[in-house]
Amino acid sequence: MIQALDLTKRYEDGHLALDHLNLSVQPGQIYALLGANGAGKTTTINLFFNFIEPTSGTATISGIDCTKNPLDAKRHAAYVSENVMLYGNFTARQNLDFFTKLAGRKDLKREEYYMTMREVGLPERAFEQRVKTFSKGMRQKLGIAIAILKQAEALLLDEPTSGLDPKAAADFIDLIVRLKTEGKAILMSTHDIFRAKEIADCVGIMKEGVLIMEKTNQDLAGEDLEKIYLKFMEVS
């Protein structure tokens, strides 16, 4: 489970990036965080991975405090960013090998890497190809492959479909939905309102560090999420 309790982040320059955020993502759920640039979506994910420390409040993954026990917490979470950055001179398999070993899985065989890459839809020819030749979509798929092999219960995605072509984005979303059905708790920040409504069990809208709206997919049934979003964005 992914949980934020009164999570607050104020930077040294006084900027309040996150203000008492409360959210909870259960296993088998997708939580979509919407919001403009600078709304605090990435800050939230940064706090879960202890890239920054909160000013107050707690972030937990599978019940483990991400600030007090960051290394333990990170064992239970996988991260996919907007641009999955991999080592360009490594092949897809070498990247998988490195990141899964970092995640503590040292017993994987070459065939298991290949199987996962097939699973996420990477073409066979790409398995031993250097990643610097990959398109963004292929990189995102490899990012998901890393997350799958990590076998973490929680998945935190930071605008993962941004910049992908429609086909690649659709493939990617299919993968996310599949991971949800496997019981993963997924927190995804996104600008894609339509996809958010389509796949999320819960949608939150953030503005200037505050979660200003949170609705389940049942609440949103029959509602136009885009209109709601724009209405919240217009309110000063």
Binding site: F49, F51, D72, K74, A77, F98, L102
Partner: protein, 481 residues
Amino acid sequence: MTGTIIRKEILENILSYRFPLFLIICVLLIVSAFYVNYIDYSKRLNDYNEQKRLSADAIAASRMWDVTSGSVALKAFRPPAPLSVVAYGFERSLPLYYEFQTDGFKAGETSVGDESILSILGRIDFVFILEMILSLIVLLFASDMVSGEKEMGTLRGTLSNSVPRHALLLGKLIGGSIAVWIPLLIAILLGMLLLDVSPYPLLTPPIPVNLLLILGSAFVFIFSYFTIGIAVSASTSRARTSLIAVFLTWIVLQLIIPKLTDVIASAVRPIRTETVVSMQKSLLLKSLDEERGKILGERYEHIFGAGAKISTEPGTPEERAQWDAFKKEVDERYKVRKARELAGIDEKYEKEKEAQRAIANSISLVSPSAAFSRLVTDLAGTGELAKLGYLDAVRRYSTTLQEQLYSHVDRTTLILPSGGTASMSSIDKMVDLHTLPAFTVSPQGAGEVFAADAGSLISLAFWLVGPFIVAFVRFLRYDVR
């Protein structure tokens, strides 16, 4: 965990375009430097053997008088240091020999004059390559290891796993250093292979041990530059900033500090030149000889009468006995005085030089390169210690020659009160020149080098540990966003 990161760093470096480039540079530079310096060493060794043989032939064909009068000089040759193929040091600026005279010794020519104007750019040897080229490349390698990964985004990917930051940095340091050392070791091994197939005494003690110690020092030196690079990288958030910062750091540590040390030391503690000191000694000897000549001349006329003919057997036996006793007492007195006053000049000059050297050494220790140069050239037998060791051996040999040869020759100039001067020369014991001990200069052992270069070792240790700590402290707080 650290092992995974080490393997990744090595693989990443090996797969990058920089690795083959670095390998080619290392092989080309190091192998050619070993080869060129080996050729030079062989030539100098032949010259040394030839000069020594010619000098021995000249001595064999001479009599004691030829040597003591200065028409044939006894010379102390220094053999070229075999490890000059690695660290050239003072090899060309040291005198090829010292020449002995009745009243001391003087330095012979050096081989600096044989070099072309291009030699002012510095001689290519392993030390030069490490200090001027590889240290910069290593810094550039290390400069993007943290900030570059931050910019690429891979640092976030890595740290999204349960990787402790200290393990990540340690892995980067070790893996990155190994990746740098692979091409270096390949080049060094090829260079040594080249030496091994040449008639070079590669396996003759103490060369293997000293060579290993030099390589160990080189490892510490390269590793210290690597940690400096990582410390800079962990202190900046952009690879470009890091690149500029490491370049400036290199200029200060590599070019400015070592070059400024001698200038600052000379300004703070100016000393006389060797030539001035040598002239002062000559003047002192001349003045003492004159003083002695006057005293003896006065007594000569007093005993034998004014205008007495100068001969080996003047006057009556009683007068001669009186003269001999007086002359012996004066000779002894002036011998002691001459030795004391010359030693005084030498001692004062040595103290001045030592003080200046201490200032220069202290300032230069701020730079790892200066510390490394000093240590490695001393281990190679071409540095400051070799220079001082040669001079010490010459001094000891000069004392031996004074005792065993020159003290048996008496050369007296009488300055007579009635006007005119007269010279008398005599030998109280004929010395067979073949019985004189041969001049030897033994290279300093590793223990002596480490004792003498404790400052350099401390400096290298500081540059190894200091940036390492800075890198850790900075990286533990590094903003990976």
